[in-house]
Point group: D2
Chain length 289, copies 4
């Protein structure tokens, strides 16, 4: 499977396409705005002029798109994936979408004879660049097995989780836990600061104990300075909290802490911080007077 198509060259997608090309794959890319493709040509990457063109050329095509709308549009739109997908070809959607979107895409691909795998990832820019993503795949097991060489380049670990939809669900459960934890840290930092403690000492103490984790260590120091450079935008984190709560609603699971965290993220959105990093939820906790 040397020939691989790749749709979507955002922050994540570009790093992933480059990793594949640098590790023995011949990659053909497509992106909505052509300019992002042009940068990659010097690395030996080919360009396809539409999703359909990429599918037509490659046996396997990976997509990494920004949201459910983009994921649907690339499949169902004009010159889209559906026009060329057919028996013998595989489509792997690594975008983060909800389970319903994933199922819709799966059914369309399969109705044309293609194979489908959803494979959202845990990890953001840095792990994407370093090939250290965690891949949460679900759908057709045979396709998963065939994709393992590519997944081994892109990530440090991949899981096959069963039915289409399970990858999406696993992703939002993880992000829900992450969102509540970010709120816990935000509240703790503000409480420490206003109670006369040193926030850096708090981070040090946290980092030595049972709840030490890379996220606190990475984002804490910037949060103390009220700096929130966007790695994972707050509005996307809030969307994932909403999807997790909706999943809980379907299953009659009461999740009061996630619900409170979600409202804090909404508060931060209402303050105009939706495009900053999700650690900006700290601003919803801060006392301004």
């Amino acid at each position: 499977m040397n020939e691989v198509g790749f749709l979507g060259l955002g922050i994540m997608g570009k790093a992933m396409a480059m990793n594949l090309q640098n590790n023995g794959f011949n990659v053909t890319v497509w992106n909505r705005s052509q300019s992002k493709c042009d940068e990659l040509v010097k690395h030996g990457i080919s360009i396809g002029e539409s999703p359909a063109a990429v599918i037509g050329k490659c046996k396997y095509t990976i997509a990494m798109l920004s949201d459910p709308e983009a994921a649907l549009s690339v499949v169902f739109g004009k010159a889209g994936v559906l026009e060329e997908i057919c028996n013998g070809k595989g489509y792997i959607d690594m975008s983060t979408v909800d389970a319903e979107t994933s199922k819709k895409i799966s059914e369309a691909i399969k109705s044309k004879g293609g194979c489908f795998l959803e494979a959202p990832v845990s990890g953001s820019k840095k792990p994407a660049e370093d090939g250290q993503l965690i891949i949460l795949a679900a759908g057709e097991k045979a396709l998963y097995d065939e994709m393992l060489p590519a997944f081994n380049v892109l990530g440090k670990k991949s899981y096959f989780l069963g039915l289409v939809g399970n990858g999406a669900k696993m992703k939002i459960v993880v992000n829900m836990i992450m969102g509540s934890m970010m709120n816990a840290l935000s509240e703790g930092l503000e409480l420490a600061d206003r109670s006369g403690l040193d926030c850096h000492e708090l981070l040090d103490v946290l980092d030595l104990g049972a709840i030490a984790n890379p996220m606190f260590k990475l984002k804490g120091p910037a949060m103390i300075k009220n700096s929130y450079p966007p790695a994972f935008p707050l509005k996307h984190q809030q969307k994932d909290m909403r999807l997790a709560l909706a999943l809980g609603d379907q299953n009659a699971i009461s999740m009061p802490v996630a619900a409170a965290a979600n409202e804090a993220f909404k508060k931060a959105r209402s303050m105009g911080f939706g495009d900053l990093d999700f650690s900006a939820v700290h601003e919803s906790v801060r006392r301004y007077k």
Copy 2:
């Protein structure tokens, strides 16, 4: 400072007294129930017949008591610390108490000419046994410096945080964050389980990513089996959430996620789980039908 007194031989205290004795200190212990002292005699540890007796014998005395009431009673009660504390002697309270209790003890000790240090710890049974506690000291800096040899035996790291009360505050800020995180995990496990995901896979995915932390890894597998052997009792965790929220109240900090987490711990208490491990908050999230 070879001679050290030690008051309180609960799970934590016993391990700490043993560590000191095994690492070059001559320890004299007192405990409310005598039997716990007797076990230690074979290790060369001496017994004092009252807190006052221990203080009278030793230049430095450490206390590790179960709650603010016990901490106050040992100091102010009959044959208590105050009866023998005097110029040239140091009293180090490593119990977890609120800042007010700590200040009350500090003032009493100082009024008798003694030196005081509060030094609550982060970490429970296992770190106590392994000398891997994190020590959050505050009060008299000179006493802190004198106690470093003992702290180096008891913990992997110690902090001097300034004024009396700051140790107590740091402790409850850390425990508040921990309590919210435990709720996040509980909700995530239940959501995963009810959505058709494998909870062990969720734990694996968590352990590979940005929010991987020892607590999830340690307690997660037991939680999946609805097993909560008490390492840190839920009722104590809930008390710390309450103290953290009270501290926030004093400083006009709104902490909606901690508040929701606190109510979940109260729900678990109302279900009769106060004496189990604080991971039993999982039961407050579980769907029973």
Copy 3:
């Protein structure tokens, strides 16, 4: 406008159709299960054999259906409203649906030349029977004016709220406030009871003060007895909370109290109380040990 069609004979719909018939209108009804229609024949009410048949016969047709799915199915389904609606005919949907559903129906009706009004109501069984509903209409003002004689029979007051969707929105805002209030009462009753107060005295005190309201007076006594005969089912109330929170999400409004109330309703659902009255949220607050 003596001739009026009426689709849907649930608890509310039946009472409303009867009121119209008893106050000078000639009503033609349709209901999915025929038996409910038969009961009404003796009162002079006619039966249509399909939604389309009713629309074909009457210039104005009112619908009162259980949820968005039913509302859509009656319009778009086989022998549905769309097959006969045309220029000169009006369709008034009094079901409680979300704004999107209402807009979808509105557009379909208008594309066939018909006139549309959404007109959800505030009030449940008793006000429906007594003609004491509050009618929250939106859509075509001319149709609203023509329907006033019917609205005056069905309700004690009607509002015209502007664009289609506003009726649905007003309804869910009101129900959201109601849902939070019901939680406030539930928590207060349990707190009073467990603190050694008399819950009936609490209800008396509430009824004399600034927050006295008919709902507390009506439902409180049954709640004290843990009795929740369904007037407005809890699962429907929780759905309205969810819709309100979704509306808040779209508009970046953080509503932490409604979110906490929603989780309490979900907790009650998870305990198996979804089909009881929404006052059964009291069970989610009760201490069982």
Copy 4:
């Protein structure tokens, strides 16, 4: 019982003392700042120069003080109530305090041979002026019976609730429900406004339905204009939420909606609105961008 002492001439106290004087009682007042007393002299009211002086002169003395600290200080302080209270005299504390404070005062009064009644009220400035308070008395039943003529002047209804502490508890349960309801209204108003609805229409609709209540009707219109003239200061309402949650904590009652409401009040305090009316919690919900 024509002769009545009255301690504390705040907004409430002044109105109550005047009502008593105007309805056949001979009132002797004391207030921390003398000037407030002077205004009342022209109405025939006498002045006592200390709490002790008032107690010495009158068989029955009522207190209406701002908070627990003031209530304690007037009893235990220099020239305080305890110096003159004795067998045959009654002391009625109508301040809003927690149950512990009330019990402490009760015990001190009784240890001197006096009779004690706690009698906090439901209602603020206007009902105090109009003699329309609701009186929540507890303590010695004989004293309650003797005070009925005065209570009938001050309030529209009085309750005898049993043991000392029950009056305080009833008051905070009522205020907790009120606080959650105020949050419900605040969230509803903001949601309506941002969703394109008319907030005055929302108030109209609310006022016609099952949750119509005097508070919404009274405060709603000012809230729409973001006006919060202090009738019951937000910081006092938040204190009552805190006391209610503490009472719940003692009894292992989980009250997630009250907890969320409390955090919203704290948010409003953190924004600098503690001295405005408690309806200013609306500002914590408002979207500023």
